[in-house]
């Protein structure tokens, strides 16, 4: 423990204090909590205001709904990513897992040809969903075992899986895109549309799924043993282990959770687009990490929460769609992707290290920069990128 760290703890950091205790001891609001989450929240408000001024189409119900459905994809990935980051790891394979999950869904929806029996099986949609999620979980298990059991660095293990999984997705379709995901009534496999393409009370299903997953995630983090174990082992793995926390199991499970979240995102995305491309979700892992970091989580592990992460996803989604609406070139958006990630990490460095100087640096920058810096690849783009 260096002195700098000790100092941080002593100077009464609002951030650390708030980020870690969403549950138990936080009856009533603390100013620090509002300040911390205000950062991302403020950025979001500025984004909405600025784009509303620039384009009359931005702040309309229809557009907000569209943007929210894009956000839901990022948010699902980011929630899974948050769990991994809380554990002090990183999961680079989420974008590929998203792509593969869509491909699995597309493959199953188009019928499984059983050569031996000479028949083609069309599994029901719920089976499709379960199989796709199971594939996501399996990828997570592989990541988790590599990292916890074989001590491969998370960055390297998941980077490997990023390639492997993407390759498998491309192999399954030979690079082609599945376009028929509607199913047929006579085959009994309709309903895939319902997972993302359809709306309920004019709000896309994906948004509901995001909310449900966020609530589950929040409950898991704040109210269950697993959540506490996760914060503890992310904060200090050695101390957690000596306190009887099964740190290896926790580690495997966070990658499984991340895999399942990515798979769900993949299903929703392919349903939204009514097609499944093996290249879907390319570079989304970076978007997810950026959302988590913008949401105030520490890449060192142990600090962060779902609310912040959701806000982070909204910041990214609303920003990138805003740029599309006001007609900024997609090349620029790529530039912005990198800028946003660097900026987000920079902010967290300010937040966790430079906090004993002044609160200002961490409170104001997001508002000023969100308008001139900008966002990651936008969802509308990837629909037609099939190879």
């Amino acid at each position: 423990m260096t002195n700098a760290n000790k100092e941080d703890n002593m100077t009464g950091s609002d951030e650390g204090r708030t980020a870690v205790k969403p549950g138990l001891f936080s009856n009533g609001f603390s100013l620090g909590k509002i300040l911390l989450e205000g950062r991302a929240f403020l950025a979001l408000i500025v984004i909405i205001v600025v784009f509303s001024l620039l384009s009359p189409d931005y702040f309309t119900f229809h557009n907000l709904v569209t943007m929210s459905s894009h956000v839901s994809i990022y948010a699902l990935l980011a929630i899974g990513m948050l769990l991994v980051i809380l554990n002090g790891g990183i999961d680079l394979s989420v974008g590929s897992t998203l792509g593969l999950s869509g491909i699995i869904a597309g493959y199953l929806m188009n019928g499984v040809n059983l050569k031996a029996m000479g028949i083609t099986m069309f599994p029901a949609v719920w089976v499709v969903v379960i199989v796709a999620c199971a594939v996501g979980a399996l990828i997570g298990v592989i990541n988790g075992v590599l990292i916890s059991r074989f001590k491969v660095a998370p960055f390297v293990a998941t980077l490997g899986m990023l390639y492997v999984v993407r390759g498998v997705a491309l192999l399954i379709t030979n690079g082609l895109t599945y376009n028929n995901l509607e199913g047929k009534p006579e085959l009994g496999n309709t309903g895939f549309d319902w997972l993302g393409f359809n709306s309920l009370a004019s709000i896309p299903i994906g948004v509901y799924v995001m909310v449900i997953v966020a609530i589950i995630g929040s409950i898991v983090l704040n109210r269950t043993v697993f959540g506490r174990w996760l914060y503890a082992s992310g904060g200090n793995e050695r101390a957690a282990e000596l306190s009887g926390v099964p740190v290896k199991k926790v580690k495997v499970w966070v990658y499984v959770a991340s895999g399942v979240c990515s798979a769900i995102a993949g299903i929703i995305l392919s349903s939204e687009l009514t097609s499944a491309s093996p290249t879907a979700g390319n570079s989304y892992e970076l978007t997810a990490i950026a959302a988590v970091v913008i949401g105030g989580a520490s890449l060192m592990g142990g600090r962060g929460n779902i609310r912040g992460t959701l806000l982070g996803a909204f910041v990214i989604g609303f920003l990138s769609d805003g740029l599309v609406i006001i007609g900024i070139s997609s090349y620029w958006q790529t530039v912005f992707t990198g800028a946003v990630i660097v900026f987000a990490v920079l902010l967290n460095a300010v937040q966790y290290r430079g906090r004993r100087k002044k609160q200002k640096p961490s409170a104001t920058p997001p508002t000023t920069t969100s308008s001139n810096l900008a966002p990651p690849p936008s969802a509308p783009e990837l629909e037609k990128t099939a190879g």
Partner: protein, 513 residues
Amino acid sequence: MTDQSSDAPTVADVVLSARDVVKTYGGTHALKGVNFDIHRGSVTTLFGENGAGKSTLMKILSGVESPTSGEIVLDGETVTFASTVDARDRGISIIHQELSLAPNLNVRDNIFMGRELTGASGVDYAEEARQARQLMAELEERIDPLTLVADLRLGQQQIVEIARALSVDSRILIMDEPTSALSATEVDVLFRVIHDLKAKGVSIVYISHHLEEALQITDYAVVLRDGAIVATADARDIDLDWIVRNMVGAGFNLGEPPTGYEFGDVALHIDQLRVADAENQDRSVVDGVSLQVRAGEIVCIYGLMGAGRTEMLEAAAGRVPIAGGRVLLKGQDVSHRTIAERIAAGLCLVPEDRQRDGLVQTMTVGRNLSLASILSFVRGLFLSRRNEQELVDESIRDVRVKTSGGGAEIGSLSGGNQQKVVIGKMLATNPEVILLDEPSRGIDVGAKAEVFRLLAERAARGLAVVYSTSEVGECLSIAHRIVVMSRGRISAEFGADTTKEQIMAASGEAVVA
């Protein structure tokens, strides 16, 4: 200028002083208007309990922190340090209580970190290595300058830290707990070095919890309590009692072995335990140690650094693998169980390094306290907040943690209170046997006495307690039995009626006159 410090001999004698220094962290006053003088060519020792503000004051004097108000006077001039580098350039350096070495670098690179010696072709490694070797020779430590710091034991790392401060040739050297991990021989060497430095006119500020030890080298004693200086004196006029009286404001002792009950059955049975050296599997750091501890009994394990105490305790708790022998808990072999299973069975360990192994810095006091016993308040799928809150409140009361409540940040507590949290966390699991590795390391007398009292209370209720220490005085406190370890073996066993000299002789330690 020096009118407040009545004990200061002459004005010219004072090199560095703090004038009405106030430091606040948020709402808490760490220092409440302190006037503190450092005299040329002498050792000024700062006594005080944890949280009294010693470290804060030293950080201000060495440029790590700036005071909220008040000023620092160097050679009669008011100065402001922009940074530690600035302070170092003016001849002030500090040895921090918490080690600040880079474990991934070797000894040489750590010593010269930030002020590498450069020649025509970049860094002059050969010269650095030569100087490092010389420093090590001065400190009588056989450490090769090219050894990785991570491979050194804690005591050696502390030596490196000291060497680094010595290498600067500063006029004022602040030593914040330099001996906490040193063996008696190493302390002797350090004291000799301090004498040499004094002779060269270097002014030294010394902070230590080993009061007796510190008194040996002190010229001026200053006692800090609750952020204010309560007493200043020439070392010739005072004794240990004076220091302790001023530190805690009242007399104290570290306790006596609890009596008035019979020991129960054997709770912990360590049988021919062997632990292999992590670097060299053929060597044993614990070599066939057998130990039986009964319910209600308190056993103290004394030994020098490297005697195998830590390894034995960690092997018993399941932290390091055992190479041979068995660990039995109430007759049950737990040798192959995980840490979690051993905790559930009633065997737990309070580790030596509480920052690294004891606490989760990102969590609150309450969550640290409840971490080990968390499974006991799961209701259905969820944690019962009410049960947790009850447990946390009870623990805070039980182990007497001074905190604003369970929601306080763990870093806001003083070292002693942090240690109580680690102990409280383990006691909350209702253990049958508790192992404590150096429970008094880096905590003040008051907190030590409290920790020992707590353990004695628990032992009287049937808990088997095993603690290790490297301070002889602590062996003769609450322990019913004292086991001395040396080179991985038990070299002697004593009852509570033994003497310090006997214990030290058995450990292979030279008796300090």
